[in-house]
Amino acid sequence: MAITDSDVKVLGMWPSPFVMRARISLNLKSVDYEFLQETFGSKSQLLLQSNPVHKKVPVLIHRDKPICESLVIVEYIDEVWASGPSILPSKPYDRATARFWAAYVSEKWYPSLKGIGAAQEEEAKKAAVEQVDEGLALLEEAYEKSSKGKDFFGGDEIGYLDIAFGCFLGWLRVIEKLNGVKLLDQTKTPGLVNWADKFCAHTAVKDVMPETDKLAEIAKILAAKLRGAAAPPK
């Protein structure tokens, strides 16, 4: 049974993992929302008004008030719709741990993943893959500790870190496919392999996780457009 709150909008774009974080969180809380998609290459008035500082998606607009920055949005959703399943863990130390890994994934690991796509020659690609692998080894360990034998970082149910990290799985699969590399591997990261499958199959995720083929198309268009230019959109 969906909660129809007075006014919930998400400004975003379907390929963006950061936008996905907001949508998964709203889905988890069974909150209905209007998804307003930005056009590639231009920014709407609403976006520029709602996020004048960064001019980026996602933006959550709740009762006409904008909230920006994907992880800030996730915490906001958790706090406002407090009666739904909890996204952040309840104990302060577990919350700090989840926040730590979410920051790591966003600030260090995801850029290294993009580095594989950006690498021009074999040497650079190899080095980029190694970096991503190192990160995945750390995340595999974090998963073992956090899940305590359950399916998700959050335990029985998906939580903050599942959302913060899982949103990148679409792009991870694209990069694997387009570069002929295997990043999530049964021999190296068995926990994460299991986790990835379960995460993508979750009801709150499956309708917002883009298909690998569709994302691959976008990747190719982006690569053509941005060859030699600035970083890909967040």
């Binding site: 800030v72 906001y76 406002v80 700090a96 730590f100």
Partner: protein, 219 residues
Amino acid sequence: MADQVVLLDFWPSPFGMRVRIALAEKGVQYEYKEEDLRNKSPLLLQSNPVHKKIPVLIHNGKAVSESLIAVQYIDEVWKDKAPLLPSDPHLRAQARFWADYVDTKMYEIGRKVWTTKGEEQDVAKKEFLECISVLEGELGDKPYFGGKTFGFVDMALIPFYTWFSVYEKFGNFSVEAEHPKFIAWAKRCLEKESVSKSIPDRQKVYDFVLEMRKKLGVE
């Protein structure tokens, strides 16, 4: 049950200062351990194996890394006193947004201001002053970013004020000249004991940087 709280830190670090201020706001007793960043202690390397950076807060043996994460942890554990974040979810989101803005801008741009020269430095100075402008806009007429009381964003930002002498002297500009309101906010924060006893004197920071530059042969 006595809490055992240790802070691994480096006195000029603005990130470390945030945690010191948070602990002082909550009246938490802790052991301060100064790290030599060229010779990091086994405890630091053990406690923050991923980044190997300070500050690290160790509470009853459990390590929390990343300054704003540690500040939120402190707020949640010692929740009965001096709330660092507002209770309203929208205001909390605003506070987190602006703290993130400070995190992604101040350190990097500030660093470029005092470590670069010529055109690169000019660009950095412009960006820095824009950043201060944006923050001043957010502050508005409020005494603190947190409103009537000192809060999360104030705590995230005030440590960088200790580095202003560094930015201004090496960048050859004055923040006060362009943004007196911002400086007034900074001085207001310094009137709080939790802030003034947690952060070093600006001159001390400047002298430290001067010495570091000499050692590195930069000039």
